[in-house]
Symmetry: C2
Subunit: 363 residues, 2 copies
């Protein structure tokens, strides 16, 4: 099977992670030599990963492993939360950013998205929305940029966004669920105060597991210790990924660190694929030329076929399945997204040919 | 190796869970046929587990899978949280209960524990503490009983505790990290409003993963939906155990459901083991006769040896390791806890003989 599901391309385990999963699968297997704090466990080498490799990799002062990107975002929002506070999010934000803000008791304001076909976020939109909120008397406790978003794979100029947010004294969190582990990302280079990443989405790990990066300035607030137990960080409830999930993240890390250096090649492949699909009558939405492996298509040609195909709108799923291609949701034809991440060129060519054949034979 | 670590005895994977781990190890592998809500996934059969098997097993109206028992407790405390609110906990509570309350912005009051050697919680203590808090003007939003606690393995009369709490209109949460999956527990039979359980501690699952039980009365509050996305439950941030962890929980479930029926035999073994250890000069703390596999010993006889043994206080760990017995923390001699859970009688006899031999030869 060729898997083109954007949710799954970056989370396929490495052979090392598969071995870690078998070795550390039993519950609480990592806690044998815990001195009272997950991050202090030296055997297995969680300490070195959390205090050394991970913060260097994402360019932050402090890093932690969490139960996922949404849990990372909630930890930050909950720590920064205030009565009459709000969060400014990009209009392409993943639903979990909104849910995290809502759970933290924070209002949400969205930076508008441009119309079809680009669905762009203009960094200057942050200035307008933050200013509006501040004037209305709400305190903007945090801005979030989804980098890239999970619908169109659009990469916004995060450096510009962070500069704008800081002009208004608002810290910026980058939701990097689709970037950390796929492409080089450095919070410091981009000016971000926080980073959230996803192990199961983009770091070849068994989930749920994520990463959190925190700048020195926010260390004492976001990673504050419990008054009842000085070893335990409050927003992490003491320990987060206390099992095999963190071990798969660590096991895949050398591969992940190496693969982000091949990012330019991944972008080239994505662009090539997009061109091929457009030549078949599909229309790529979002940034063009595209800058990420997650690609959204409008497919009027497939939609037309679905109107008279035998299986109706399920024909595409069935036809792709017949050709051992997996990852476009069953029932979708008019719009769908997919990912080219880490697929060999031959496989991408095979997928394009399959679409061509389906259009020619079913259509 | 014979493993007597109380943290690990109940989390050893079944063969079925090992297979599930390999099959569902890749990140987001369970989301292929998600209709928008984790619990609604029918293939794999998460829907049937969460809406059928699990609530029946723990005797609750509504059940969910979470990232662990502490995450279950935090979800409830956060949902019930109020300004000037507090939580009443048993004095033997796990640190994570206190940390969860603190994170939820709630004060903590502890029901006192009796002195050595029993370290008992008197259910009537809940009346006194709740009344005291209410008189002081704090609203008691929740009471928690650790059932059993993780130090002494003491089982408190939860039925009496729930009756008392309800007299004061305070809901009760049972922290069953060491019971659900080991012994029969029914929230309804015990009168509890909430249950928190741990997959990696007691349900033969790969962690972090836990369960949450909620009575009908609190359904709409604790499992309320997001205003931004009607499919997503706020306190679960939409989806919790979105990977292999939930699949190992489900895979082990038939075994776990069957094994709790053998609980009387487990208690017999624990009692026999305790008697044997006492005949060697150790003193069992907590309920006596004991009602759980988690057993805490004072060992003056080993402590005396440690004063002049070659490796000092590390001698016990080394001597046990030499005999392929694992699970008492390195450096402990004066006090330690262990678990007899699911160990064959021959293994327990072997452990007792090892202690006897160590005392005779090193002492």
């Amino acid at each position: 099977m060729i898997n083109i599901d954007p949710l799954q391309r970056g989370g396929l385990l490495t052979p090392e992670a598969r071995r870690a999963l078998a070795e550390w699968g039993d519950g609480y297997s990592i806690c044998d030599f815990c001195p009272g704090k997950l991050e202090e466990i030296k055997k297995p080498p969680i300490h070195d990963f959390v205090y050394g490799d991970l913060p260097a990799f994402i360019g932050v002062d402090h890093a932690r492993v969490t139960n996922g990107a949404r849990e990372s975002m909630f930890a930050v929002m909950h720590a920064l939360g205030k009565k009459d506070g709000c969060v400014v999010l990009d209009g392409n934000a993943h639903y979990s950013s909104l849910v995290a803000a809502e759970r933290a008791g924070l209002d949400v304001s969205l930076v508008p998205v441009s119309d079809r076909p680009e669905y762009r976020i203009d960094p200057e939109g942050y200035a307008e929305i933050i200013e509006g909120q501040q004037k209305s008397g709400e305190e903007v406790v945090l801005a979030v940029l989804t980098y890239p978003d999970g619908n169109y794979g659009n990469i916004v100029d995060a450096k510009r966004v962070s500069a704008i947010c800081h002009e208004y004294d608002v810290p910026l969190l980058l939701n990097c669920a689709y970037s950390v582990g796929r492409m080089p990302v450095s919070a410091k280079d981009l000016g971000a105060d926080f980073i959230a990443g996803s192990g199961h989405k983009s770091m070849a790990a068994c989930g749920p597991v994520g990463v959190l990066g925190v700048s020195e300035q926010y260390h004492d607030l976001v990673l504050r210790r419990s008054a009842y137990n000085k070893n335990k960080e409050l927003e992490l409830l003491g320990c987060t990924a206390r099992g095999a999930t963190i071990m798969t993240l660590i096991a895949s890390f050398p591969t992940v660190r190496a693969r982000v250096l091949e990012w330019d090649r991944e972008v080239e492949k994505a662009r090539w694929f997009s061109e091929q699909m457009e030549s078949l009558g599909m229309i790529q939405m979002g940034d063009k030329p595209h800058n990420h492996d997650l690609i959204f298509f409008e497919a009027p040609v497939l939609y037309e076929i679905s109107k008279h195909a035998k299986k109706g709108r399920f024909f595409l799923y069935k036809e792709l399945k017949k050709r051992k291609i997996h990852g476009i949701k069953s029932g979708l034809t008019k719009y769908f997204k997919l990912s080219t991440y880490q697929l060999p060129e031959d496989d991408l060519r095979y997928v394009v040919d399959a679409f061509a054949e389906i259009i020619a034979t079913v259509g």
